[in-house]
């Protein structure tokens, strides 16, 4: 119980830090004044721009934590990450189209929609290919994922070269690919929060069977689990979660990989506590990383994915060292 209250407290604290952080740091007094309905432009910046973004960052982090846990559970591999099955490549392609091709609908609408469609579509493609190839097991899916990611990456690079010019900058695409939370309007933030909670529910439905699968495929079959069917279903569920994260946050490196590990240290390997814990860890990590991204190098903003990767790289080495020692 103590772990949970600490996690929630840490999340609240990181949201507070996130709301204060920026090129223009705000004090808690500024925050209170803004929340009380002050109409000064600085207060409105806080309420209408910074706060929705901080909360969106928390949601995106939570989704990545959930997605990472599902993928690591399904593939029973500590290196599995949410972008494994082509969703990163698909989302990036969708986002490139939204950012570079003039479309009828406004970009703020098309960007999340196409990123989601790309992420989800790419994973469907991977599962489809592994089915057609008759390799519906984890290894088959991983290989199909690598192949699809290569093709999608090439398509995206070609679009970037062909469609960019003086007015449509490659930097926009590049910085999206490197991750960054889009600032939603309050209603859209509500939608994102609802999606996040729905994703938590969805993945919790998988928890028991993920635990069984963790005993090994033979054991899982002995327990009466239709392994291949469950893997396909869990992967689809996981990729909905990841696609939602990508739609609102771009590609944020390492969070989906690291959060489940940190959560496992805190609450152990069973998925029912692990999933919400991993979501909380992911939310804390992304909220803090986003605060650094927005405040470290004024007047610039560092792409969020770079911050998480710089912090995540050393973490990864730590993980490796622990495993080697064990």
């Amino acid at each position: 119980m103590r772990v949970w209250s600490l996690l929630v407290l840490a999340l609240l604290l990181s949201v507070l830090i996130g709301a204060s952080a920026g090129h223009d740091w705000m004090s808690p007094a500024d925050l209170l004044r803004a929340l009380a309905g002050d109409t000064d432009v600085r207060s409105r910046l806080l309420i209408d721009w910074r706060l929705p973004r901080v909360l969106a960052a928390a949601c995106v982090g939570g989704l990545l934590g959930l997605g990472g846990t599902v993928f690591q559970g399904v593939f029973r591999n500590p290196l599995a990450e949410p972008y494994l099955l082509g969703s990163a490549g698909g989302a990036a392609l969708g986002a490139t189209v939204a950012l570079l091709v003039p479309l009828a609908a406004p970009q703020s609408f098309m960007l999340p929609v196409l990123a989601f469609a790309g992420a989800w579509g790419a994973t469907m493609l991977v599962i489809g290919i592994s089915r057609v190839a008759g390799a519906v097991d984890a290894a088959g899916m991983l290989l199909a994922g690598v192949a699809v990611a290569a093709v999608l990456g090439a398509l995206r690079s070609f679009l970037m070269l062909a469609l960019s010019d003086e007015t449509v900058s490659l930097q926009i695409v590049l910085s999206w690919v490197l991750g960054g939370v889009q600032t939603p309007t309050w209603p859209i933030l509500g939608l994102l929060a609802a999606i996040s909670i729905a994703c938590l529910m969805l993945t919790l439905l998988l928890a028991g069977r993920l635990d069984v699968l963790g005993l090994g495929e033979t054991m899982a079959i002995a327990f009466g689990l239709n392994v291949n069917r469950f893997i396909a279903f869990a992967v689809l569920a996981g990729s909905v979660v990841v696609a939602a994260a990508v739609a609102f946050g771009g590609l944020v490196a390492f969070v989906g990989l690291a959060s489940p590990h940190i959560a496992r240290w805190l609450v152990g390997p069973l998925h029912r506590p692990l999933l919400p814990a991993s979501a909380l860890v992911g939310a804390i990590v992304v909220t803090l990383a986003d605060a650094i991204a927005r405040s470290a190098l004024p007047p610039a903003e560092i792409p969020l994915g770079l911050v998480t990767a710089v912090a995540g790289g050393p973490f990864f080495i730590l993980l490796l060292a622990r495993r080697l020692r064990a």
């Binding site: 920026g22 090129h23 223009d24 432009v41 600085r42 409105r44 910046l45 209408d48 721009w49 950012l99 703020s108 070269l161 062909a162 010019d165 003086e166 007015t167 449509v168 900058s169 930097q171 926009i172 910085s175 600032t183 309007t185 927005r294 190098l297 004024p298 007047p299 610039a300 903003e301 560092i302």
Partner: protein
């Protein structure tokens, strides 16, 4: 009585009477309204800064981006962005009543939405040809409450353009390639049609050897094949000599006939008032005054 009059006088000076709201349509077809002439303007990019300064409003500029180098009087203003992007926080911290951007790098992408939400007027300008530079000057004049100045400046620049047009009208138009950058893999960036720089070359009495194509990167081989009458290099003499000293370049017609020129990047790659200076200089390169008389 005198005191009252003085007070009224000060009041009249301090508050321009009956400031009418001004509404314009910008390059994204957005309607932009300023309730009264803006006094605190954030200008993103050298081009927009130069245009506002050319209207005599340099002292109203309260924020620029890191790659603005001209005019000198604005260089000390706070930076609100640079190579890595633009900061909503820094823009808001200047408490601007107008933000001027161009959809280059990530500026429009990062700033239009937040400024709209915060109710800070933000105007987006495009410069696809030289005429748009002049219309941008007029639009900025209207928006900042100095329409006459904007009209005058645009008319002066237009008169200079007309003069160049007359002068080069009858000469033979040389084919031109302008190299604006070099990529690490050996490819070159060249000026394309449909850009203000391409338009500047045409107005100066040249014609683009690459008159089609939308990808700005070409291989040196394509430049050799096009074999233009004239080669322009946007940059300094030293880099230009280094480039044409490479194998293959000495066989080009333009290199053999010494018609390779380094041209000023600021004049031809910043779409502001100085572009007209650049066009005049290009016209002198394409059609040397001595030869046309």
């Amino acid at each position: 009585m005198i005191r009252t009059l003085a007070f009224l006088g000060v009041l009249a000076l301090a508050a321009p009477l009956h400031a009418e709201p001004v509404t314009v349509r910008d390059a994204f077809d957005r309607s932009v309204t300023v309730p009264e002439p803006p006094q605190r303007i954030v200008t993103i990019f050298a081009s927009n800064t130069e245009m506002v300064a050319a209207l005599g409003l340099a002292d109203r500029i309260v924020g620029i981006e890191a790659y603005t180098r001209y005019p000198p009087e604005v260089l000390e203003k706070p930076l609100v962005g640079g190579r890595l992007g633009f900061s909503v926080d820094e823009v808001v911290a200047q408490r601007p009543d107008l933000v001027v951007v161009t959809p280059s790098r990530q500026a429009a992408n990062q700033l239009v939405d937040p400024m709209q939400r915060l109710g800070i007027p933000i105007v987006v300008l495009l410069q696809r040809n030289v005429a748009e530079i002049l219309s941008n000057i007029r639009l900025l004049g209207r928006l900042t409450g100095v329409s006459e100045r904007g009209e005058e400046l645009a008319a002066r620049l237009q008169a200079r353009l007309d003069k160049v047009e007359q002068r080069v009208a009858h000469g033979k138009k040389p084919s031109v390639i302008m190299i604006t950058g070099r990529l690490g893999n050996g490819l070159l960036l060249v000026t394309r049609p449909g850009t203000y720089t391409g338009d500047a070359i045409v107005r100066a009495g040249g014609h683009l050897a690459f008159d089609a194509g939308t990808i700005a990167q070409v291989s040196p081989e394509a430049v050799f094949n096009a074999d233009p009458d004239l080669l322009l290099f946007a940059g300094n003499e030293k880099d230009m000599k280094e480039l044409i000293g490479r194998p293959g370049w000495s066989d080009m017609r333009a290199v053999r006939s010494k018609r390779v020129h380094a041209v000023n990047r600021a004049e031809l790659l910043i779409p502001g008032p100085r572009t007209i200076d650049g066009i005049e200089r290009l016209a002198n390169i394409f059609h040397p005054p001595a030869a046309t008389q």
